[in-house]
Structure formats: C-alpha cells, structure tokens
C-alpha cells in the first residue's frame, strides 16, 4: 500500500505549507507560478494577439476551404477558409469573459444563498431549498428560448442564463457544508459568546467551506465555457461569424477524423486554460488552509 516514508514526507510537506501565508504560498508554489504564467499568457494572447495578426476572423476564402496549419495560417483554416488562429483568439475573449463572469455570478449567488439557508436553518432552509429544487426541475431549454424572445440578444443574457443554472449545485454544496460546520464546537462557542451572525458567517463558516467552493469554481469555468455554445445554439448570445471555444470545439469534434486541427488547436487553448486555473485554484486552497 502506502509506504510510511513517503507518507511522512508528504505530511512534513503539508506542515511546511501550513506555516506559509497565503500570498507567500501563492508566489512560492511551483504549481501556482506555472498556473499564473500560463493563464496570463493565454489571456494576453487572446486579447492582444488579434492586433498583431493581419487576418480577420470573418473573411472567407472559399476556394481554400479547410487547410492544415501552414506558414500563412499557423493554425490552419476552417471549412470556409477562415484563419483558425484569429478565430480561436477572438473566441477566447468571449469564452474567458463568459466563463469568468458567469462563474462569478454563480459563486456570488450560490455561496451567499447556501450559507444563509444552511446557517439559519429551520423553515427558511426548507423554503430556500425547495426553491432550488424548483429551479433545478424547470426546463432550461424553454427558459433560454423565452429569454431570447423577451429580452433580445446580448452577451449579458448569457451570464444571466448560465449563472441561473450553475449556482444551484453550488448552493446545495455550500448549504451542506455550512450545516456541518455549524455543529462544530468553535462555532457554537462563538455563538454563545454573542459574536454577530455576519461575523460568524464570514470568520468561521465561509473560511471553512472555501475549499470545496474553490474546487467547484475551477470546475464550473470549463462547464460554463462549454454551456455557452449550447446557449448560442438556442439563439442567445454569440452570433456567427463570431465563434467561441465551445462552438469551435463542438464543430471540430464532428469533423475530427477529417480535419483534426479544427478540434485540436482550440482544445489546446481550452485545456491549458483549465489546467492553469486548476493550478491556481489548488494553490489558493492550500494557501488559505495555511492561513487558518
């Protein structure tokens, strides 16, 4: 099974980490550094790269069609002969924007909602959680279709639509954790000492449930990026000829055996982003652990 020596090493490493502060930890951890560098690089390339490229994301070259990577088109071209690099970069702007904003919305609502429900408990908890059950069950497709009709097409609506679904699971997780933390002796002690509720929530509860929240957030970003393509499919949000990573990957997956570059290149950007986010997320988690 597990050799004791190895295990001791990992334990000692744990305690070492624990001594470091959050900031210190973030700057010292190798993973965090790699994560930060990678992530900043991708963001910079996506937002600044298009200024240095002379191709445009929508001008077609029908005779050329889908062509593999070449000197003229580093990433190759799609079936309409459009440069895939610039499409991936512009798509990245959208995907990163949607990914972060929608996840932020989901985090804000989900964590607050879950903590309140879990902390107050009793009838409030029951009503709040049945509300979550209700939202889970409502037909998402219909709601998105309705949104397009009632409110038109804008990027803000994507955040709304995605945020509206993604916070639900988070709220349930946070609520479960809050209830379990609430029963810990130190919380009870704080309550007896008359510490204000918002202070308890912040100081004792939020800090202790931060780790599943961070993990969930780093998992939510890729889900959101992919969900965006589904929502655009329903007519809300990003419109052709703009593309996003989600839609590029989706298109590429269907033609993978014929035009592999259409899938591989956007996927690399997408995967590296997720990898870097997970590194950062893990480092954050460890750092916060250490701080407590």
């Amino acid at each position: 099974m597990i050799s004791t020596k190895k295990e001791k090493e990992s334990l000692s490493r744990n305690t070492q980490i624990n001594r470091l502060g959050l900031w210190h930890h973030l700057t010292q951890s190798n993973h965090a550094r790699i994560g930060f560098i990678l992530f900043s690089a991708i963001t910079l390339i996506c937002f600044l790269g298009p200024f240095f490229l002379d191709q445009s994301f929508d001008s077609t070259e029908l005779e050329l069609g889908a062509s593999p990577p070449s000197l003229e088109h580093f990433f190759g071209t799609d079936t309409l002969g459009r440069d895939l690099l610039i499409r991936t970069l512009i798509g990245g702007q959208i995907s990163l924007l949607v990914g972060f904003s929608a996840t932020a919305v989901a985090l804000l609502i989900g964590v607050t909602y879950g903590m309140i429900a879990g902390y107050i408990g009793k009838k409030t908890d029951i009503i709040m959680m049945r509300f979550v059950d209700t939202l889970y069950a409502l037909p998402f497709t219909i709601m998105v279709i309705l949104l397009t009709v009632l409110l038109g097409r804008s990027l803000i609506l994507i955040f709304l639509a995605i945020g509206a679904v993604e916070w639900l699971t988070l709220a349930r997780i946070v609520r479960g954790e809050t209830i379990s933390i609430k029963t810990q002796p130190y919380v009870e002690a704080a309550q007896l000492n008359g510490l204000a509720h918002h202070k308890i929530l912040y100081k004792h509860i939020l800090r202790n449930l931060i780790s599943p929240v961070i993990v969930f957030a780093t998992l939510t970003i890729p889900s959101v990026i992919l969900l965006e393509s589904v929502i655009s499919f329903l007519g809300l949000g990003v419109q052709a000829p703009l593309a996003s990573w989600g839609s590029l990957i989706n298109e590429g997956a269907q033609k993978f055996d014929i035009y592999p570059w259409l899938l591989i290149l956007p996927s690399i950007f997408f995967s590296l982003t997720i990898l870097s986010l997970n590194f950062i997320g893990d480092a954050f988690r460890d750092g916060l652990d250490a701080k407590n």
């Binding site: 069609g65 309409l80 690399i268």
Partner: protein
C-alpha cells in the same frame, strides 16, 4: 499532448487485438443474406397516419405501408397502375374513372374496395380531423367547400363508387397533373373498421397506428415500432402484387446525419437520408461508388421582408441577389452537386425548366445599389439576417455575408433562432432577410410559383402584385401545355424582376448507398417504392 498519447496507445491496442479478432457479421451482410434493408431516415416520424403527417421522413416509411390509386415509375416518374389497374378520362378532362385491382387487399386479408377510398377521402377532408395537407385533395370537385365547412353533405363532393371495383372522381377544374396526385400519401386509403375500432373517424388521438392494431395496404406491413429506435416492417402476404416484392423486411432507423454516416462506414446501414457536408470530399475521393446526388424538387432561397427600410426598393433586393457568387457557394461550401439558382422553380418540374432570369454580376449589383442611393454601400442602414439554427444554414449565411460585404460594402448582421421561434418570427414578418426553402408538393411549377401569390399563406415577403397574380391564373387555366409553360415563364421573369425571394440553389438529395442496393433510381420527387428494391451481393472486385 494527451491526444497523441491516447492515439498511440490505442494504435497499439488495435494492432494487438486485430490479430485475434474476426469481424462480426454486419447489418449490411446480414441484410443481403436475409433480404432485409437497413435504412436511415434522419429523424423520428411524427406518426404513421397518412392523413395526419406532412414530412419527407414520414413519406419514406409510409411508402412501404400504403399504396394509392396510381404509382410512379421510379426511373422516369411516369404514371403506373397502383390499386387502380386502369383508368379513363372524360373528354373534358374533368372526370376520372378508376378500375380497381380485384386482388387489392388490406394487410389483414380484407379486400380493398372503392368504398374504402370514399371513407378515406371523407376522413381527410373532414374539418374536425385537422389534416394538415387536406388541400392536396382540393382538385376534387366540392372538396375545398367541404373541408372549409361550407357544405356539410359529403355526397355532394365529386367522389362516387358505382360498384366496389370502380371509383369515379370529378375535378373542379382541369388539372393536367392530376394522376400524379394519388401517389402522395394524403391520397392513400386507410382501413375503415380499424380506425373506427380505435375511435371516431375524425379522432387524431388514436391507437390504430400501433403495430398490434395497424392495417395498411402496401407491400409491407408494420411489425414493430419503438420511438427513437426503429420501425420494422415485414413483407405483406396479402399485397396485391406480392411476387414483385423482393425484400423480406425493412428496418427504418431514425438516426441523425452524423450517426448515419458512421453507421454506414461501419456497414450497419445500406442507405442514409443524407451526408454531413464535411464528409462529402472524403466519400468522393475514397468511395465514389457509394455517394449519390440526386436532383430534388426544392429551392433554397433568401426571403426578403419587402416592407423594411431599404429592402422596399427592388433595386436593393436585386443588388443583393446579383452579388452572390452561387457557383463558388455550391462548389466549395455545399459540395453536394447543388445547382446554382438563377430562377425560382427547380429545373424539370413536371417538364418545365425556366430560363436563367439573371446572372452573377457584381458590377451591375453595385450599379443598382448606387441607383438606389447607396453607392458602395454608403449610408446603408443596419440590416439583420435571420436563420434557423443549423450548421449548414450558418455557413451558407457566413459565406454570403462576406460576399455582400466584399462586393457591395454592405454590412449585414447574422442571428439565429431556434426552429419554432424562427417560424413564428417569419410568420409575423419580424425579420429583414430570412433564409427559407420550399419543397414542391407535386410535379407542377405552380407548387413553386404559387408561393408569390398575394393570397398565399406561405408568402411571408409581404410582396403583393396583382399583375403577377393575373399571369399565374392565366397559366393555371390554360389547357395547352406550351402556353401554360410560357405563362409560367412570364410569371418567373416577373417574380425575379421584383425579387421578393432571392433564389440561392436548388436542392439535391445526397445520400450514401451500399453497392448491394438494386433498383434505387434518382428522381426529383425522392420517390423510391420499396417493391422495386432488392439487395444483391456484389462480388469483391480485385
């Protein structure tokens, strides 16, 4: 990185396993042995009641289960006998007498009589049933009035049966293509006692189409039906021309295009309902024998809302039409042998082929746009283009958007809507330009040109022109074929001059077909009676 690792390890796995594995028998091979056809039909049919359905998918299945008075030769689309052995036409061309085949039977053994047809036509024309395609029978005298509730008595509709073997139909006006109508599923008979056993004559909600109840009169009978899985039909032992049927059964698989293509490559189906665009080049190169592009009675067009801003001006509409490079589009984007459209009615619609009414002429397009007050697109207001969500509509729109931008300097914004939302936007006139298409119902130019009539429920362009209406009514009323076609040509020219619809291309039916399938002939109606099909083993050519 990871992909490469996976690919390498799988390659190793494949080598390791291919040494010990012998391939199992595929559906295609089993089908050849047992004369059972496996065919992809794209989507799940919405039902098997010929009076209540309206799509191509349903047509594919129903064609095996029912048969009308006449049938068509799949090679030439000539009229052939069906349930009717022979027929005669009166001098004035207004009444037809059909002599039914005494061998015609239902799949439960009951004999099929002229009374069954009367029951069926009464059923589909009964307003209470709400048959979506009842208008296909409007050629019959009194049918329209009965369907619209203006007359209540069905006996005043022009259908009579002097005896069980004879059916007389009176038309309300000359209909040169009349004999092709009974080949459409709306004209097929349904079994009276089965229908009445499971509800009233005009009940939509009925269990009669379930496999255990189903009775039809086609070469095959319904064996099993599971939604999103398979419809299986078996040879009908009571079919009138039983000996002509070579297949023992057909498996209809409602699988989507991508899955169909994979299934075909793996030898799991003999025929597909289409080909994903991205695969066309590969099949052309690697398996040219398996790919077919048959002309099809349909036009893909851009619908213009002629009440919106600059689109009110026919010059603007024509500028948009002239600046689309259709050859480039069909050759490099669609790839399936679609014909660029320079008129509205597809070639060879009931023998009529229109002249090209315009051409790709960006120079003239720019000139027209300048005349309309927008030289080089200057000052052209923001126009939006609507399409229903679909990969192919999207890429066509993306390509054309760029052509307009390049040739005219006009910026057009694209947006997509989900199918039903798109339909209601189009219906409500809530669009500037919308992608659209029209599939002919029968072999006559009127099925296309009628779309532009002022009172047509399908004309969403809001373009109305009494001159056009006049020309069309002249065309439909003339007896002489040549004069008729000349009038249609006049109408066609008039339509293109006004350009409420920008024709883009004429459809083809593209499909993958296994070499073993015999008797599948290309025709514009996509009409392939299964009694003409058989499966033959093709010896491996070395």
């Amino acid at each position: 990185m990871n992909l490469r690792f996976i690919a390498t390890s799988l390659l190793l796995l494949k080598i390791a396993l291919s040494l010990g594995c012998s391939p199992a028998q595929t559906n295609v091979e089993r089908g050849i042995l047992e004369q059972e056809l496996y065919i992809g039909i794209g989507t799940e049919p919405s039902g098997l009641d010929p009076h209540l359905v309206s799509g191509m998918t349903e047509h594919y299945v129903l064609l095996s289960l029912f048969e009308g008075l006449t049938t068509l030769d799949p090679k030439t689309l000539e009229i052939l006998p069906g349930v009717a052995r022979s027929w005669s036409v009166s001098e004035d061309g207004l009444s037809y007498t059909f002599d039914l085949d005494p061998e015609a039977r239902w799949s439960n053994g009951d004999s099929l009589t002229a009374y069954d047809f009367i029951f069926s036509y009464q059923r589909i024309l009964s307003p209470e049933l709400g048959a979506p395609y009842a208008y296909m029978l409007y050629a019959i005298k009194g049918a329209e009035a009965f369907h619209k509730g203006k007359i209540q008595d069905f006996s005043s509709v022009g259908i009579r049966a002097p005896n069980p073997q004879t059916l007389c139909i009176e038309l309300h006006s000359i209909t040169p293509y009349f004999l092709t109508l009974p080949t459409h599923f709306t004209w097929w008979p349904v079994h009276k006692s089965t229908i009445l056993k499971h509800g009233a004559m005009t009940d939509r909600i009925s269990k009669w189409t379930q496999p255990k109840h189903f009775v039809g009169n086609g070469p095959f009978a319904l064996k099993s039906w599971r939604l999103n899985n398979m419809i299986k039909v078996e040879k009908n032992p009571h079919y009138r021309a039983q000996n002509s049927v070579q297949l023992n059964g057909i498996h209809f698989l409602p699988i989507n295009l991508e899955t169909e293509e994979r299934a075909f490559r793996a030898g799991q189906i003999h025929l597909t309902s289409g080909i994903p665009i991205a695969r066309i080049d590969w099949y052309k190169k690697e398996r040219p024998k398996n790919i077919r592009f048959d002309p099809f009675l349909g036009v893909y067009y851009y619908l213009i809302n002629t009440s919106k801003g600059p689109l009110k001006d026919p010059k603007v509409r024509k500028a948009l039409a002239y600046s689309i490079n259709r050859e480039q589009l069909t050759e490099h984007v669609l790839k399936g042998g679609q014909k660029p459209a320079y008129h509205f009615t597809p070639p060879n619609t009931g023998g009529y082929t229109s002249n090209d009414c315009f051409s790709y002429d960006p120079e003239k397009a720019r000139q027209l746009l300048a005349e309309a007050g927008y030289p080089n697109g200057l000052g052209f207001p923001e126009i939006e283009f609507l399409y229903n969500t679909s990969e192919s509509h999207k890429i066509i729109a993306e390509a054309i958007q760029q052509m307009w931008k390049k040739e005219l300097g006009v910026e057009i914004t694209l947006y997509n809507q989900e199918w039903k939302v798109y339909l209601s936007s189009r219906q409500a006139g809530d669009f500037d330009i919308a992608r659209s298409s029209w599939i002919g119902d029968y072999l006559d130019p009127y099925t296309f040109l009628g779309l532009g009539e002022s009172d047509s429920g399908n004309n969403h362009s809001l373009w109305q022109d009494s001159v056009y209406d006049e020309i069309l009514s002249q065309a439909t009323q003339s007896l002489d074929k040549k004069m008729r076609f000349e009038s249609f040509q006049k109408a066609e020219n008039h339509l293109i001059e006004a350009m409420p619809f920008i024709p883009i291309f004429f459809y083809v039916r593209s499909l993958l077909i296994d070499e073993s399938v015999q008797g599948w002939y290309p025709n514009t109606l996509d009409y392939h009676p299964y009694q003409h099909l058989s499966l033959e083993r093709i010896p491996d050519s070395i």
